[in-house]
Symmetry: D2
Subunit: 136 residues, 4 copies
């Protein structure tokens, strides 16, 4: 990074910096979308929109979002027969790449912990051939 | 509504109840999506996802969302060359219908007021033939 | 309103305009705060912050927010022993006043409907003596 | 962690795991609060509520939030004379500690980059004596 800096910066390896960036992505997804109205019919367009948004962020090579409204428990009736996005419905896997280093991280709801767990599932070389960074 | 009620309810006309509901939709949109990463390439999928979400809510007959990332000012460079959704970029028009009454309301950013203005643009009969409520 | 208008505006009575505004407030609260980390120890400061925010909005005379983390089900263990705000925990009552007209509206989670219900609980004259609008 | 795992987990050092966790906190703050109504009068209670929320999250030893509504440009007039939280107004510094390792990270808006920059400002031993984890 050649930008002028007003804040001090710790020296991090690529691997370390990617881990920080991976956390930013998952923390952001969790706190951005909860509460969105969602139904089985709209779950896919919502998942694609979240993927498109995360895909814009620095170092993101790929992102896969799954929204499963069925995990929200039984539906209400009549005009209340839709849901809003809750943590239980959301699963996100993101791969970040910087040169030879890749970090894959995941947000998934753990019923046993009653918690949306964010974890790093893999650190290592990028999977498959280097794809061109999508133009924006 | 035949649901049991734990809270008292004011008696409202259909027109009045729709005005309340229209406010819910616009207030919700404004407070749900600000901060989402967005670019000219992803603006459309984001707008469609917001439309799908709002379209699930009670009484909504139609909704049109426009996201214009260009209103966010000049872009940064390099890996900062994308934006996150700000109020300036967002324009939403929603039509709610209950029987013979329609309310059309709009969220638009008013540069002269430096404010995201939500207003009711029309109250009257529904436009065009009654469409079937989309199944969910 | 004497502001220049780029969008058309429906003619609404004060009562009608307040109903629209009441919807904006409740819709906004619901979609802004879900996902915030919260515990019994922090529930009060969170509720006060939401009240302060809503209290800034046009026409709001008073607002009362209750956050009850206990409605979120049993806690996880160890470092997962906190919760994030869900719709079940949130109850908001807001009173809007414009001259002689007051609207009181409420967001509360209805277990029987499995739904966060927003409703107008009262329309009529303001309660008690007119308080001075808080200066900002 | 002795919890059963359904997802694979990469082996990370404490330092690495803290960097991931630090990203989660900053990404979450950025995407949770944008859009909240705020004024100079309410900036402090908002900042305290964000601090209380972040302080609940795993590994957080301290957090300092500054909300400066003045960075939002000139105010509107009359009932539009308040603002909603934008990225420009927000500065967050968080320290995470796990045993002998501390990570300090910061979110600050960089006018020159037109970007809310999240960065790691320090990795090393914790500052000062180990405080007891606040009970919840």
């Amino acid at each position: 990074m050649n930008e002028p800096r007003k804040t001090p910066a710790a020296r991090l390896s690529r691997r370390e910096a990617l881990l920080f960036e991976a956390g930013i992505k998952l923390g952001g997804v969790f706190h951005q979308y909860l509460g969105m109205p969602v139904s089985p019919r709209t779950a896919t367009v919502l998942a694609r929109a979240v993927e498109a948004a995360v895909g814009l962020q620095p170092f993101v090579r790929s992102v896969r979002v799954r929204v499963d409204p069925g995990r929200g428990g039984p539906l209400g009736r009549g005009r209340f027969a839709y849901r809003y996005l809750t943590a239980e419905m959301l699963e996100v896997t993101v791969e970040l790449v910087d040169g030879p280093v890749a970090v894959e991280a995941r947000l998934t709801h753990r019923g046993d912990l009653r918690f949306p767990l964010m974890s790093v599932v893999r650190v290592g070389p990028p999977k498959g051939p280097r794809r061109r960074r999508r133009s924006r």
